[in-house]
Amino acid sequence: KRDAFMSAFNRVNDTFQSLFAEMTDGQGHGRMALENPDSPFEGGLDVFLQFPGKPELTMGSASGGEKSVATVCYLLALQQIHPMPYYVMDEIDAHLDVLNTKRLATLVRSRSKGSQFIVISLKDTTISRADRVYGVFQEKGMSQVISLPARAVAVD
């Protein structure tokens, strides 16, 4: 059991590092670390983040948006353990600034090539990078869905 965990941990850590690098244009560095590497189940799992131009910090001392970036990378890294045929994500860009939103949408777009990503978003930055867009609205007390023109060229 411990070997299975360590093997999964190492794979998730590698994926986390490359995702975080993508989210920081290669200028930042993120890593996961076991509190107790010899007996992993007797310690927790920490996350260390180094954003460009800033010193390394732990998850706990990051800003709202920095935690959001790290958490999205952590979730996407976990997804790689059991790859699934589709992913549905609801407003994962809520706390990201414009640049981080752009990087996340670009990252999802590249990951979606062999897969299916369905993302709910209120942000133009994300919407404009999709292959297709659906608009949900209320009419006569019920939900309707229409196809919206997707833009191949992003607005920002």
Partner: protein, 163 residues
């Protein structure tokens, strides 16, 4: 395998049937607050067999049936059509449709390509394609905010439970 279409009627804010045709790649769903976006995700989980109404943000299963001033109690019906050319779902069909209907009477009916099946049968067939009702591939609204605050112990436990 990927989701080709979702049909929703009588479920939460969806009254008359709405069809959403999907494809591979990157799809974005947008719209005003309260329009029904998250309800689509709930509908997908419902069709795949989610048993806990709390997971679907409802007080009870009856709570999920569209409440409207005009008509009386109806049934909630969600159908998910999968593109199955790669036969990851062990059914001899290019298109596999899983549907679930729940009437306020309390009956829940699952169907695969129109044929009635038990929930367990549907779950077993779907799991061969790695399709489950809940998993890290479905990220609910506010999941990021909650996960951003977990402690180091819980973070390790999450990984443990995934293996």
């Amino acid at each position: 395998v990927f989701i080709k279409r979702i049909d929703i009627r009588g479920f939460k804010t969806f009254s008359k049937k709405v069809s959403i045709s999907l494809d591979r790649g990157f799809t974005v769903i947008t719209g005003p607050n309260g329009s029904g976006k998250s309800n689509i995700l709930d509908g997908l989980k419902f069709a795949l067999g989610e048993l806990s109404p709390k997971e679907l943000r409802g007080a009870s299963l009856s709570d999920l049936v569209h409440k409207s001033q005009a008509e009386g109690a109806r049934s909630a019906h969600v159908a998910v059509q999968f593109e199955n050319g790669d036969r990851r779902i062990p059914i001899e069909s290019d298109l596999v449709t899983i549907s679930r209907e729940f009437s306020k009477g309390g009956e829940g009916i699952y169907r695969l390509n129109g044929r009635r099946m038990s929930r367990k049968q549907v779950q077993d067939i779907l799991s061969s394609a790695d399709i489950q009702v809940s998993g890290f591939n479905m990220i609910a609204q506010h999941a990021i905010t909650r996960l951003a605050e977990i402690g180091s112990e819980e973070r390790r436990r999450i990984l443990e439970e995934l293996i």
